[in-house]
């Protein structure tokens, strides 16, 4: 017994010192951020004079990134002494690992791949290097970046990241199936039109439409938020009051659920992009509402539905457009010790020359979509991507991330709310909605609970 008490006393003192230690290390980082950037500048000057530099890039397993990895040796050959170290991670892990690194100033990554959701927040936090001056230099032509995408990556006129991949959402349908049923889908369909068509072609063997149901702010709620917004609803109003159980939001979610019930694929909770892709390619569904990049996969050689697909803008109800906007972007954290080299690489990997490089080395259909306007003027690309390039450019140029819905909103972003709490809020509400889709509870109950959760986050913004 006595031994235990002694142990407790020792532990307590260790605790105090540990707390102090831990507290010191974290506050030190925020206080000495300025000092670190100065030190970083010094070391990068050294690097520029010829010391070997390794740029560590944290990134997702995205097709365009895989291509970038295979072309990196060309960059290394052109920039002797620089080697690029790609660290590929699963999307969720990437977010946590990079956030922990950047927030604590650990400085393990020189270039990070982050989404349009994170860029404005991290930029405002002072975590990312302002790239505006660097991008204005030389023949980079920053104005060539698709305006809506650029808009989403800037805070107060300063741009904190550059896109290497962009997407919006489109409606995809199997033209053969539609023709056989005598249905024509217009280029700007309404949701009612789509629902009618889906129910008409729905059979036991082939579902009418594939819609995401996997619980997650980026899975279910990417398409669902666009549906909510085109039905006149929104996550928050201008005063940050949550609108999750507003009549429009409820109507939109009920519509989505009913469409899944009546003409959707079985086991919706397990479906996201990949599962719908497989289903559509194998003739298990006739229509699909999802990311524009899907078109390039459906039209690829070896796809069973190549040449059979039709594409249209994202279905609307009360707005003119309802496509979402997402981009994967390269940013340089301020905690990097190789700032100049990192910025150099970032510019190279998103330049016009790089696009040409991908086309000639890897194939013209692999040129990164949705980042630059000039991509869509390259003759070889136009030819290789004839089936899906026009609709992608069309849709991505017409979406408005500032006010995608009927009413104004206090953040920039379409299928997400650009606040740090949204990942959590979106996930929680998505889980509630998924339970409602599965028949465990009503949509109203789910959204009422979601309203409470969202309101807590909304209050934190006021």
């Amino acid at each position: 017994m006595l031994k235990r008490n002694r142990l407790a006393a020792i532990s307590a003192s260790v605790a105090v010192s540990a707390l102090v230690l831990a507290g010191c290390s974290s506050s030190d980082d925020t206080a000495t951020d300025a000092a670190t950037t100065d030190a970083a500048a010094e070391t990068t000057e050294e690097a520029a004079t010829g010391e070997d530099v390794t740029i560590t890039v944290a990134t997702v397993n995205n097709g365009n990134m895989k291509d970038m990895e295979s072309l990196a040796p060309i960059y290394e050959a052109e920039n002797p002494g620089v080697s690029i170290n790609f660290q590929v991670m699963e999307e969720g892990d990437l977010r946590s690992a990079v956030t922990a690194d950047v927030a604590s100033g650990a400085g393990q990554y020189d270039v990070v791949t982050i989404g349009a959701y994170e860029v404005p927040q991290w930029g405002a936090n002072g975590w990312l290097t302002d790239l505006t001056p660097a991008l204005a230099e030389g023949d980079y032509d920053v104005e060539d970046i698709l305006p809506p995408v650029r808009e989403a990556l800037s805070v107060n006129g300063q741009q904190y990241a550059v896109p290497f991949y962009g997407e919006s959402s489109i409606l995809m349908y199997n033209k053969e199936v539609m023709d056989a049923a005598g249905i024509t889908i217009s280029n700007n369909p309404t949701w009612d039109e789509v629902a009618t068509a889906a129910k008409a072609v729905n059979t036991d063997d082939m579902a009418g439409i594939c819609l995401r149901g996997k619980p997650g702010w980026g899975d279910l709620f990417a398409p669902l938020t666009t549906v909510v917004q085109t039905f006149g609803g929104a996550w928050y109003d201008m005063d940050w009051n949550a609108q999750v159980n507003s009549p429009e939001f409820i109507e939109a979610v009920t519509f989505y659920k009913d469409l899944l019930d009546e003409a959707g694929q079985p086991d919706p909770v397990s479906y996201s992009f990949n599962e719908c892709l497989t289903a559509l390619q194998n003739g298990k569904v006739a229509m699909w509402y999802d990311a524009s990049v899907a078109a390039s996969m459906l039209e690829a050689d070896g796809s069973p539905v190549q040449g059979k697909m039709g594409y249209a803008h994202a279905p609307v109800k009360e707005t003119a457009e309802s496509g979402w906007l997402w981009s994967w972007n390269l940013a340089v954290p301020v905690s990097t010790k190789n700032q100049d080299a990192a910025i150099n690489f970032v510019k190279w990997a998103t330049s016009k020359d790089y696009q040409q490089l991908v086309g000639t080395e890897l194939g013209w259909s692999l040129v990164p979509p949705g980042a630059r306007i000039s991509t869509y003027s390259i003759p070889e690309y136009q030819e290789a991507a004839a089936a899906y390039a026009p609709i992608t450019l069309d849709v991505m140029s017409s979406v408005n991330p500032v006010q995608p819905g009927v009413n104004p909103q206090p953040w920039v972003g379409i299928q997400y709310v650009a606040i740090p709490e949204f990942q959590d809020v979106g996930n929680q509400v998505a889980q509630l909605v998924a339970d409602a889709i599965a028949g465990r509870g009503t949509v109203e109950e789910a959204l009422n609970k979601g309203q409470e959760i969202a309101q807590v986050a909304g209050d934190a913004q006021k």
Binding site: N62, Q87, T278
Partner: protein, 269 residues
Amino acid sequence: MKLKASLTTAMTWFLVLLFFFPVFWMFLNAFKSEQDAATIPPKFVFTPTLEGFQLAWDRGMATYMANSLMASIGATLLILLLAVPGAYALSIRPIKKTQDTLFFFISTRFLPVAAVILPLYMIFKSLGVLDNIIALGFVYAAINLPIAIWMMRSFFLEVPKELVEAAQLDGAGLFKELTQVVLPLVLPGIAAAGLIVFIFSWNEYFLATLLTTSDAKTTPPFLASFVDGRGLFLGAISAAASLASLPVIIAGWVAQKQLVRGLAMGAVK
């Protein structure tokens, strides 16, 4: 009698193969192209390809496996070094302190990894050991030590008192008592415990993902990096997972050879 034995063997094999089927399917998928791995209906006959393995190899799988080996073997050896004497000490005549100590050991496993991972990250950062495979190995040893101690202790408890006392009367010191008399009898148990600890270290995911960046990255986060939100990946990840499971399967094979009856307690008289 023979018929009954054959029937039992047949039934055993049927059940084993059924249970093994998902693993078999994973091995099969490893040789399929992405399109073949996602067909309706599932393909049993197809043209095999090595593209999944090639991709895994090109992405540096060898380095990550080497890191995993270092961390896992290191942790397992350290655990064996600490747990064998520790468990033995806890298996001799129990006193109240034995119960308290045993409970303390198992209580170190009560804290969920997700709760301690960010504090651990901060500690590692202030010690400057982020992305350090040796530090990771130490953490793995600490996490799995309680399991090894509890498991090994239960095997030590099986050793008959008389054997130990006979050795002591013969003048054997503690070291000889442990290594020459007791250990040979509990080898199956030690093998099982060592294997389990090795597997847990090999497959550990959370800490490996957050506490390593590039130099110390192990196989589990590497496997996860195949997950793609915009494209099929089942073939590639099956290939990588198959490769990743080879070392543990070999370890399993070696360990299960120790689980052979014949080392029965009553054999030594």
